[in-house]
Amino acid sequence: MSAEKIIILGVNHKTAPVEIRERLAFPNDPGTPYREIAVIPGCEEFCFLSTCNRVEVIFVSATPEETERKIRAFLFNKSMSYEDAGKYVYLHQGEEAIQHLFRVGASLDSMIVGEPQILGQLKQAYRDATEQNCTGMILNRLLHKAFSVAKRIRTETEIGSSAVSISYAAVELAKKIFGNLKNKRAMLVGAGEMAELAAQHLMNQGIAEVVVANRTFERAVNLARCFNGKAVSLDELIPQLELVDILISSTGSPEIILKSSDVKPIMRQRRNKPLFLIDIAVPRDLDPKLNDLDNVYLYGIDDLNSVVDINKAERDKEAVRAERIVTEETLKFMLWLGSMEVTPTIVAIREKADSIRKAELEKTLSGMTHLSDKEKQAIEKMSAAMMNKILHHPIVYLKKEDSQKDKKVKLALIRKFFNLDPENSG
């Protein structure tokens, strides 16, 4: 089967501002994409992934251009033209799409490279898609592969340790500032994978409350629910500072959202209680001058990195190793895809049967030394004939002309039947 049928259409934090990404996330009714995309003609299989930083549709279609056009129209809900939407989306096809998915799953494409949440989100997206019967043979295998690639990268490289330790470092720093976190309050400004991770770590330390502020209130409410916290609007940011002790900011705002002069009067109202600010947004949200204020501790993402003492060169080295694993696994998947045609399948069945035949033959004949060469040849001939006769009908069945869809089902069945793609094989 041709790899060119696999396509990924998506937006992420690099290609689209948060306003655009939000529009594609369908927060009101998460079921919409499954209903709408499923009826798009030509879309054989698909999976819909939506996180804070990305929205992606992974689909399989025999008519990629047309299907893509319709999916894009659905995603943008006719709010902008195909060409305008093109400024924000990326489109990967074939090998590129496979590689992209593996990179997403392994968190190589994340805002914070190596953060572990994305894998869980991808798994959830796949689970939802299977529940809606939206995936088939190709995506089932592709996504499972993406999970195992992510796992392999996590175990073989140190790529994950930096993100985990960054949020761990944030907690360690908070402890060095506040001592006990029990009665402290944290505030998330904007949503992001890393911010949520850090908030989760703080929650585990028994922090009293998590407040979520977001430009769209709805999203703040949704996120606050995850932490049993409360949602506030972004306009309340400064008054809220009087009450919170830790602030994690990760908005997509191009400008600084909190200036030193905003916080200075607040510190008086806080009676100078320490304020720990963590800015993980790019470009940054918080005025660097904030760190000069008494009892205010401002940490950016690089500062947190220096806490965990993972230098950039080392991280880059790990990323290179991870990319190599992705390339390797992509190639393997391409090989598998190639085998998903009739001819390679027939070859594979024959090879498998023949190797069984040969092995059994050798086992039997080695115990029968009294046989003459002629007799041995006769037995061998007989076994070959048996094999050919047994395989005859399955092969005829495979070769029969069918529609694309039937052919795929047939191939999947036969390959499963003969166990040509054992799950644990590379």
Binding site: L173, K175, K176, I177, F178, G179, N180, R268, R270, R271, N272, K273, P274, N291, D294, N295, Y297, Y299, D303, S306, V307, D309
Partner: protein
Amino acid sequence: MGYLLFQVTLFAYVLSTAGYMVYFWTQRNEIRTTARGILIGSGLLHTVYIIVRYIEAGHTPLTNHHEAVSFFAWSMTWGYLSFHWRYNVRNFGTFVSPLITCLMIVATFSSREIIPLPPALKSAWLPVHASIAIMANGFLALAFCGGIMYLLQERELKKKRFGLFYSRLPSLDSLDNLNNHCLAVGFPLLTLGIITGSIWAKQAWGAYWQWDPKETWSLITWLLYAGLLHQRFTVGWRGRRAAIMTIIGFSAAMFTLWGVTYLLEGLHSYVG
């Protein structure tokens, strides 16, 4: 007898300080336990030394420089141990014990000669005023150590360069609390020291306050700490500012103790 006891005490303090230093580098708990044990032992020996000295002198041994500084060290030791019992502040001992040892060394080099008490000092107020004033210094010294620790830790947190202290020193919050607790004991003692001194002065010299340099400087010290506490309670001064004020206040206290005696002349000049 007294001298030998003093030397043994000094040696024990040095040993304890060394123990705390080793603990600071290695962070091995058994070393800390040993160092603390030695410090308790030193404190006990020191107490015995003061009692022996009392018997030898026939009056409260707080009249000359040696006695005053030695009692200062003694107050710090027991003040520290009493805090230790209530609050666990990691590596506080590493900062406190060297200061105690330094005081003991200063005491070693000052004359241990017992001078007959001048008539002006013969009063029941002597032990009360002198011991309270010096104990106040002990707690202010502990606050000073806490303040230094706070500044070191704060500096690493602000500069984001994590060196020797980040992992070893406790949180800013507990250092700030420590500072607060030390002052909560030290400041009332300082106040009492000044009041008792004033009453004694009325008795000895006929006036409550004569603006002699020692009195003036203890008032300056008192005002510095009072200002700090006032700011803490009203606008919540804490952290770096409080730590710096504690250090300034302690410098003033030390000037009152030594600077006045050696640099300025006054009624107190014959006292430690």
